[in-house]
């Protein structure tokens, strides 16, 4: 179970099933067994339309490759989920504010083809937050980034978590586990919680954490 405000990282090699797990969490893949609940709602009892609505309202998704729509600007990409979120609330300047928050407010009018990989990833993160979801799911969000940009994105996610956002992220890079409050390891479809615990100082002070000894 993932509690509100946690930053959960799921580690595993390619083919271990971690992305499939994320797909099930997001309601994109129907599990063959078991139950998945988001804020108490059993996704197995929902039809496709209801799951889509739940996904729009409660889940923000960050893909490995950003997944921006090429024909619209960065700001418009951020606003796309508002087209099918049934919250219906006035978005105000939330899109612009989110782009500012992720550090690329000046690129709001740019098209994805003119953005760097890191900038596109920031736009994707802002898009994931536009409908104020209760859960952010990130599938290998730094998989295609260089080391420096990877660090920037991870620190951004960590900051969002410090601000209260619940994050579930999968990665094959164990070095990123230090950003998490809980770490799981997935191997051939089986998941177990990693016994290593990491300092929480990163979330409190905003500094890079140091791992404790693992057992």
């Amino acid at each position: 179970m993932v509690s509100e405000g946690e930053f959960v990282i799921i580690l595993g090699r390619s083919g271990s099933g971690k992305s499939t797990l994320l797909g099930m969490l997001a309601g994109l893949i129907r599990p063959s067994g078991g139950t998945i609940r988001i804020r108490g709602r059993d996704m197995g009892e929902l039809d496709d339309t209801a799951i889509a609505a739940l996904r729009a309202q409660e889940i923000g998704f960050v893909f490995q490759f950003s997944g921006l729509i090429p024909t619209v600007t960065a700001l418009e990409n951020v606003m796309i989920p508002t087209l099918f979120c049934t919250n219906g609330s006035d978005t105000g300047s939330r899109g612009t504010d989110l782009l500012e928050k992720v550090g690329i407010g000046a690129r709001a009018g740019a098209y994805p083809r003119t953005l760097s990989s890191g900038e596109m990833k920031r736009v994707a993160i802002a898009r994931a937050l536009i409908n104020v979801p209760s859960l952010v799911i990130a599938d290998e969000p730094t998989g295609d980034l260089d080391v420096d940009t990877e660090r920037e994105i991870m620190e951004l996610l960590a900051q969002l978590n410090r601000d209260g956002k619940t994050i579930v992220m999968v990665t094959h890079n164990p070095e990123l586990a230090r950003y998490a409050s809980r770490v799981f390891v997935m191997d051939r479809g089986t998941i177990r919680e990693h016994s290593a615990h990491y300092s929480c100082s990163c979330r409190e002070t905003g500094t890079a954490p140091e791992p404790k000894d693992s057992t």
Binding site: A26, L28, T49, A52, R55, M79, T82
Partner: protein, 407 residues
């Protein structure tokens, strides 16, 4: 805060951007729809104009039956349909015989004279001599008239003869004064002039001295009889009686004219309908193939939208909206361009001249109906051709598609 700018994206804005940012594909699709709509509209425009002309011309004839000499049915039809100058005769005594046939209410004689040329015109016109005291047809057509009966050397001209009331025209060396102009019918009457019997005979008598070629109107002969029947009678029955009781005659009925026009239009009709069908038959699979290619190319984009929370219905709406938008833009463009071209040709009178069919510009309501029909058909084709690829793409597993693009 009321003065803060609103960040938003609208559905139609997304549709517009998707179309504008794929200009080559959008232009090609718009062009295809333009061709479809132009072909359908042009076909309907020409057929509608021919039909309206025929209806107008026949209704303005005022006659239920036209009686001509046996063997001259085609020439008689051509006078009505195209105004191609011709001349033929049968005994004037047929007029009385026809008048006595049961069901005949009125009978009016006419003499057809093919002019050599006229001072007005680049080509010969059909001259039709009438007996104003018995005529019941052209008087109702007059657009401009001084209200007086046709006087000495006065003529009534068809609308295609560009003259004004009061002008003079010369036929076979004889001077005539334009006393009236018949409203446009799109038929042969537009290229005809009407004069009195006595003026025609005078013209013929003087033609030996005044004209290039002498005109002969056989004494005691007429060319045709226009018949109006009792409304309770069947035109076919009366026509059959005329042919039986007045030997050497043939009758022409409005339905027969329709059939003749349809036959003449047949080649044109087949060409137009064939073109329309060919365009539709070719375009549906072509557009379907393009839609399928675009859907396949955008399957990852679609999967991303679904992963972000878009229901399948949103995806279907989005892609159909794009297809319909292209169809509407293309359809309207095609109709506008074809209207301009058709109007230009009509202005030059090439349609009727080259196709040898009666034609008047369809009424604004008809044009609206034809244009709307062509547009709806183009949009329908757009929907049909894109629906299956759209439904197919929404059936695919979005996460598999997303993940497959990452490897």
């Amino acid at each position: 805060m009321p003065n803060q700018p609103q960040d938003r994206i609208r559905f139609h804005g997304l549709v517009g951007k998707n179309l504008m940012n794929r200009p080559a594909r959008s232009f090609a699709t718009i062009f295809t729809f333009a061709v479809i709509a132009a072909t359908i509209f042009s076909s309907q425009y020409l057929m509608g104009g021919a039909r309206q002309s025929l209806d107008a011309g026949i209704s303005r004839m005022g006659a239920d039956i036209l009686v001509v000499p046996e063997g001259y049915t085609a020439e008689g039809e051509n006078i009505l349909l195209t105004g191609q100058p011709t001349s033929f005769f049968f005994p004037a005594s047929n007029l009385e015989k026809i008048s006595r046939i049961s069901g005949v209410v009125k009978a009016s004689p006419q003499i057809y004279i093919a002019t050599l040329f006229a001072s007005c015109c680049a080509a010969p016109v059909q001259m039709i001599a009438i007996d104003p005291s018995q005529d019941f047809t052209i008087s109702t057509w007059l657009k401009q008239s001084n209200g007086e009966p046709l006087g000495k050397d006065e003529i009534i001209i068809g609308s295609a003869i560009i003259q004004n009331v009061g002008n003079d025209l010369m036929f076979y060396g004889h001077n005539f004064h334009v006393a009236g102009i018949i409203e446009r019918t799109g038929m042969g009457i537009d290229n005809s002039v009407f004069t009195r019997f006595e003026d025609a005979y005078v013209m013929a008598d003087e033609s030996g001295q005044k004209a290039v070629k002498k005109l002969t109107i056989p004494a005691g002969m007429i060319s045709a009889v226009l018949v109006r029947i009792d409304p309770s009678e069947s035109p076919e029955t009366v026509a059959a009686a005329i042919q039986e009781e007045v030997p050497g005659t043939k009758t022409i009925l409005p339905q027969g004219l329709l059939h003749t026009v349809s036959s003449q239009l047949g080649a044109v009709t087949r060409l137009l309908h064939g073109s329309t069908i060919a365009v539709i038959v070719v375009s549906i699979p072509l557009l379907a193939a393009v839609s399928a290619m675009v859907a396949h190319e955008r399957r990852r984009e679609v999967s991303i939208l679904m992963a972000l929370g878009a229901p399948r219905s949103f995806i279907v709406r989005l892609m159909l909206a794009e297809s319909f938008s292209l169809a509407i833009i293309g359809g309207l463009s095609g109709i506008a361009i074809s209207s301009g071209i058709l109007f230009l040709f009509l202005f030059l009178d090439l349609i009727a001249f080259n196709l040898k069919i009666p034609f008047i510009v369809p009424s604004p309501l008809s044009l609206l109906v034809e244009g709307t029909g062509a547009l709806l058909l183009a949009v329908g084709i757009g929907g049909i051709s894109s629906l299956y690829p759209v439904l197919l793409i929404t059936r695919s597993e979005p996460y598999e598609t997303i993940r497959s693009g990452e490897s």
